[in-house]
């Protein structure tokens, strides 16, 4: 199982960073490190470090990727989405925005619909995994916010994705 997780993280690192233009903000930024350990000696819940902030956690991975014109969550991304579902069910105060994106092969409007379907698919899986409806919002950017702008598959596969963006 550990091996699987590592390979997923690797795949996503590769996909995310391959030829990313510098101007874009670094994709799924490993969230800020845990709170300063020196602060108040935590009593009972000493272990309450938010796993969302652990760069080694599967939760650090916040993008699901798709083949062309496909909107169902792929098998390799299911453990990641399910881990977020579990996290959300245990942290009812956390909210996440699901942002669907597409490559440029389609009309802008069709891709807006496709991106919405991608985001909704992740939304549904999170709901089934225990996240509350009020914690989830799905939106689509279609092809309007490409991470990479070349006309080739290396670029397109980075753009076909749903990002899980947690509200701060």
């Amino acid at each position: 199982m550990k091996k699987l997780i590592i390979s997923i993280v690797l795949v996503n690192l590769l996909a995310g960073c391959a030829s990313e233009p510098k101007k874009e903000e670094a994709a799924p930024a490993p969230a800020p490190k845990a709170e300063a350990p020196m602060a108040a000696p935590a009593p009972a819940q000493a272990a309450a470090v938010d796993p969302l902030n652990d760069p080694a956690s599967i939760l650090a991975n916040r993008s699901a990727y798709y083949p062309f014109d496909v909107s169902v969550v792929q098998d390799e991304d299911k453990p990641m989405v399910q881990a977020h579902a579990k996290y959300l069910s245990e942290h009812a105060n956390r909210k996440v925005r699901l942002e669907g994106n597409c490559d440029e092969r389609g009309s802008n409007e069709y891709n807006l619909g496709l991106g919405q379907r991608r985001a909704d698919g992740v939304n549904k899986m999170l709901s089934l995994g225990g996240a509350g409806a009020e914690q989830l919002e799905s939106v689509s950017y279609g092809e309007e916010k490409p991470r990479c702008t070349d006309h080739n598959e290396a670029c397109w596969k980075q753009n076909r994705r749903t990002d899980l963006n947690y509200a701060r």
């Binding site: 092969r105 009309s107 802008n108 409007e109 807006l112 619909g113 919405q116 909704d120 689509s140 279609g142």
Partner: protein, 423 residues
């Protein structure tokens, strides 16, 4: 069965440098009409600077249409009919001759009096006075070009119409309305979040569009005169693809509030919302037929994105495109006899047209990143988004596929263009 309508497109490549200040740096014309009408435009008499400005607009318009061959008037400068020596122009091969004068009136307005003469029959085809305020000199030129175009081709001219498009530069998006030649641009909306899908109201007074400024796709209607803006639809998920009915009393819009992208009807103020497709697929890009009875739209209900048609009042949809590949962004021709759309095959987008009666599809372009075609109101030209030298540009193609032009805007990518109605 794909019929390629590309004959005559090779050859002739003209570079017209737009010298006036404005958004368009250059326009390239590729191809020529089947029968170019030779016409001479003599720079008008009167204020030389104004006359020259008008002359540039008139000749630029006529040249870009691909339907005219401009005969060099050098050495002859008649401004009144009795100054015209017809044999001079017959020798040069001109069939028509435009002459005139410009003057600034006491109230400051510019007036151009012009005549179009038939060189062969030695008669006057039309004569008219066109006036505008001092900052609207280009409008005078477009009007004169329209009159010449109409007299010599029999079709109504579209040089005085406007276009709308989105300019994207990095993370800056601007919704721009400009003259049909790309000049005289006005920024309707500027934002750091995407803007897409502008749609002209039938009378040209309002634009509907989609903006992401609140974090998701919301559809708005905005007056071009007062800039006053109303929310057309702001439900959860995406609100997009607004399209006006020909009478301007309602719009079709695409919402995901009940699941996947479905088509709804709504009044311009956002009231009276009514769902009309129930497919569970992506149904989007609705476009009303000129008689207001039907909608064309894009749907992937059959597995791939294709064009469908359904009655506006609801009912079953009929699939219209069957060719290999997928098809997007359908729009009716102004006469309602055909529709234009973006055809995607083997990774290339083409501008395609299909006749309703025969079902015959024709490709009008060689393919590339050619998206979002829309007809000029006279049905003779199609405006679309294309790409050249690594940038998104505006492009047009004549409805017979013979003449193309590329319009390079000053910077950034031009996207989502739509040709506006007659003024």
């Amino acid at each position: 069965m794909v019929l390629r309508v590309l004959q005559g497109v090779v050859g002739l490549l003209l570079l017209v440098q737009a010298s006036m200040a404005g958004a368009v740096l250059s326009i390239e014309i590729i191809g020529a009409g089947e029968n170019q009408i030779p016409v001479a435009i003599v720079p008008f008499g009167g204020d030389e600077k104004i006359a020259q400005a008008i002359n540039e607009v008139v000749t630029g318009d006529l040249q870009r249409s691909g339907l005219f061959r401009l005969v060099d008037p050098t050495g002859k400068s008649p401004h009144e009919p009795d100054e015209v020596s017809y044999p001079d122009w017959q020798v040069r091969g001109a069939e028509a001759l435009a002459i005139g004068t410009v003057a600034t009136q006491p109230n400051g307005r510019i007036e151009a009096r012009f005549r179009l003469l038939d060189v062969v029959k030695q008669t006057e085809l039309t004569g008219q006075a066109v006036s505008a305020s001092e900052d609207q000199i280009r409008a005078i030129g477009h009007r004169i070009a329209d009159l010449i175009y109409e007299k010599l081709t029999g079709d109504r001219g579209v040089f005085s119409t406007r276009i709308v498009y989105v300019n994207r530069q990095g993370k800056s998006f601007r919704l721009i309305v400009a003259d049909s030649d790309g000049h005289n641009e006005q920024v309707v909306l500027a934002h750091s979040e995407p803007i897409m899908s502008p749609a002209w109201s039938p009378d040209g007074s309002h634009l509907a569009y989609v903006s992401f400024e609140t974090g998701h796709a919301v559809a708005y209607v905005q007056s071009l005169y007062t800039s006053q803006r109303m929310v057309l639809a702001d439900f959860r998920g995406s609100n997009s693809a607004p399209a006006w009915s020909p009478d301007g009393k309602q719009l079709a819009v695409v919402l995901t509030r009940d699941g996947s992208s479905q088509i709804y009807l709504v009044r311009p103020d956002g009231s009276g919302l009514r769902r009309i497709t129930f497919s569970g697929a992506i149904d989007t890009e609705p476009n009303f037929s000129p008689d207001g009875q039907y909608l064309l739209f894009t749907s992937d209900r059959g597995g791939s994105a294709q064009v469908y048609r359904m009655p506006v009042e609801g009912g079953s949809a009929e699939r219209m495109t069957f060719d290999e590949g997928s098809n997007f962004s359908p729009r009716h021709s102004p006469d309602g006899k055909s529709f234009v759309f973006a055809h995607l095959d083997n990774g290339r987008f083409y501008v395609a047209v299909q006749d309703f009666q025969t079902g015959q599809m024709s490709l009008l372009t060689e393919g590339g990143w050619e998206k979002k075609p829309s007809y000029a109101p006279n049905g003779k030209l199609i405006l679309f988004a294309s790409e050249a030298r690594g940038r998104g540009i505006l492009a047009t193609v004549s409805s017979d596929g013979r003449v193309k032009q590329h319009m390079f805007t000053q910077s950034g990518d031009a996207r989502e263009p739509v040709w506006g109605p007659y003024p």
